[in-house]
């Protein structure tokens, strides 16, 4: 009796793939919540001045309506800045300044890891009174920043290290964003979700243009994108190992686009430009097998407008300019969303396994390639949860569940529509909704139950 190995169905690996992208997102959120709860317990209100607060700085004495209008103006200014920066990125990419973009991305990563990381580490040192001296500290910070730049910049660094550094960049920038005033943060999140929706789905959207450019040229967009390890690499053979590696590497986006915006403030002593890579959700299935001559590449890119990142085949890049040290902080996030790209190539359906694999590839979950998610998605999910942590842990749990549900829905929509989809809107909508519902309704209920010893 011959036994045939049954062809793998979609469900065999879908859980593993989703977990491999949910784990770093959750890790990023947990780290931001920890940072927020440690560092914000001491200082009550410390806010940064950046481009996101240039229209209006919130003070605690304003009325609610004033705060709301101020927050709207802030968000509008921010989204306009991001749009402009994204269009500049598209232009630069169109005129093939790829090397400049790569260098800029590396420079921004260095600034984020070096200066923003040192600043947050200094806060922690002060909080815990760690008796570390400045020589050791500067040496460690220098090492950390340089290795981080190499990890996100170089194509062939160890996967774990690259993924770890991307998560760390997300944590640092997200923590910085939680320092914005409260109303501004919430309105900004909603505005960015709407912007993401527009930039990816509208035909004139900058992210969509960028992705189409990248696809038409078959080039990579330099951007910071988190790529999960592909699931089925056990059966890889040394003979076709090189092929698969190359294929997987080609889809990796290592460069991040950074664009710096000129600092608006007059007296900016040190300008910290940090570009965060965009959120792109890229499912790349690349069947480059040895025995079958099919080369079907289906790329699903879900782009989140947050950062400028160039990823191969359409990825969103967000640029985040942060000037931290002295002077004002200016932030520009340009979000590129990478549309989902569907390359149809010649497919030879010879065997049943090929057909099954094609179907798997159709929803971006085939045997090769991993799910990609842009760094801007990481950052704004973490900002939402971090801001929820500033209220209470109950809202943290509710928002975390909402965001994870939103991400799952987005992945399913991705598999369904097979075109570029933004990853921010669903999660942010659910997150904001759950935050306000929990804060206004659930908390009262739970507190009263606990006070009266009513368990259920």
């Amino acid at each position: 009796m011959a036994q045939n190995r049954r062809p793998q169905s979609v469900l065999d690996n879908m859980g593993e793939e989703i977990v491999r992208i949910l784990a770093p997102v959750s890790l990023c959120m947990v780290l931001v919540v920890i940072l927020v709860s440690i560092l914000n317990g001491s200082s009550a209100t410390s806010s940064v001045s950046s481009i996101a607060t240039m229209a209006y700085s919130e003070t605690s004495t304003d009325s609610s309506w004033d705060k709301f209008i101020g927050a709207l103006l802030n968000s509008l200014a921010f989204v306009v800045a991001i749009t402009v920066v994204t269009f500049v990125l598209v232009l630069l990419f169109y005129f093939r300044f790829t090397r400049f973009l790569k260098l800029y991305m590396g420079f921004s990563s260095f600034l984020v890891l070096g200066f923003l990381g040192s600043e947050i580490a200094t806060f922690l040192i002060e909080h815990f009174s760690v008796p570390i001296d400045c020589i050791t500290f500067s040496l460690v910070a220098f090492n950390f920043a340089v290795v981080g730049v190499l990890a996100v910049f170089m194509s062939k660094m160890a996967i774990v290290i690259t993924q770890g550094y991307l998560v760390l960049i997300g944590v640092l920038v997200a923590y910085w964003f939680t320092m914005l005033p409260e109303w501004t943060t919430w309105v900004l999140l909603v505005a960015l979700a709407l912007y993401d929706l527009a930039a990816v789905l509208l035909p004139i959207g900058p992210l969509r243009l960028l992705v189409q450019l990248a696809i038409s040229r078959d080039e990579e967009i330099p951007a910071l994108v988190y790529e999960a390890r592909p699931v089925n690499c056990d059966h890889l053979d040394p003979r076709d190992g090189v092929t698969r590696r190359r294929v997987w590497r080609e889809r990796r986006i290592e460069n991040s686009n950074h664009q710096t915006d000129s600092n608006l403030s007059d007296e900016s002593n040190s300008t910290l430009n940090a570009n965060d890579v965009l959120n792109s959700n890229l499912n790349v299935s690349n069947l480059d097998g040895t025995h079958d001559a099919t080369n079907l590449v289906m790329e699903n890119a879900v782009s989140n407008p947050s950062f400028n990142s160039n990823t191969s085949n359409g990825i969103c890049s967000d640029r985040n300019l942060v000037s931290a040290e002295e002077g004002q902080v200016q932030e520009t996030d340009s979000e590129l969303s990478a549309p989902l790209i569907d390359h149809g190539r010649n497919v030879q359906l010879n065997r049943a396994e090929e057909a099954a694999n094609l179907m798997l590839e159709g929803i971006g979950l085939a045997s090769s390639g991993g799910i990609k998610l842009g760094l801007g998605d990481f950052i704004f999910y973490s900002v939402l949860v971090g801001r929820a942590a500033m209220y209470d842990f109950m809202t943290v749990y509710a928002c975390y569940l909402a965001i994870v549900a939103g991400l799952g829905i987005t992945l399913m929509l991705l598999a369904l529509y097979q075109k570029a989809l933004p990853a921010l809107p669903v999660s942010i909508t659910l997150g904001v909704l759950f935050y306000f519902l929990t804060r206004l309704l659930l908390e009262v209920f739970v507190v009263q139950c606990s006070l009266n010893f009513l368990m259920f």
Binding site: S46, T122, P131, I132, N143, V147, A158, I159, C233
Partner: protein, 137 residues
């Protein structure tokens, strides 16, 4: 009556020998990523570059070198050309880490009793206060 296996063309009796501890076989891939990592030729240039750049006060790069080429380090007779650089990186990282830890511990444990007023000048939180790094300004 019939054999119930080995008819499957996909049946692979010899999985990749990396995890095979019965024989001291040479690992197939020099990097920790396995088939997703580098080939041997690329690996040599990467190992050499990591080793050389580590001398620019970057012991973490040496540590990354050892971590990345862990299969080379672990199997004693594999990839001789790469192994030279990886072992040198490991030695360099250990020495540097020992020096740095001893200095940091001396500073932390000795404190003011050992160093005198200089300690207050060197410690990080005072320095940050003085330079105004602790506020977002």
């Amino acid at each position: 009556m019939e054999a119930s296996q080995s008819d499957n063309p996909n049946f692979n009796p010899n999985p990749t020998p990396i995890g095979n501890s019965l024989s001291s076989s040479v690992p197939l891939w020099p990097t920790i990523d396995g088939p997703l990592g580098l080939s041997e030729e690329d690996a040599l240039s990467y190992a050499r570059k990591f080793y050389k750049f580590g001398f620019a006060l970057l012991p973490l790069l040496w540590a990354v070198n050892c971590f990345y080429f862990w299969p080379v380090l672990r199997h004693a007779h594999s990839f001789p050309r790469i192994r030279r650089y990886v072992v040198a990186s490991a030695v360099g990282f250990s020495v540097f880490a020992a020096l740095l830890c001893s200095w940091a511990l001396t500073f932390a444990i000795g404190g003011e009793r050992l160093f005198g007023p200089v300690w207050n000048e060197l410690v990080m939180y005072n320095l940050a206060d003085r330079l105004g790094l602790t506020g977002w300004s």
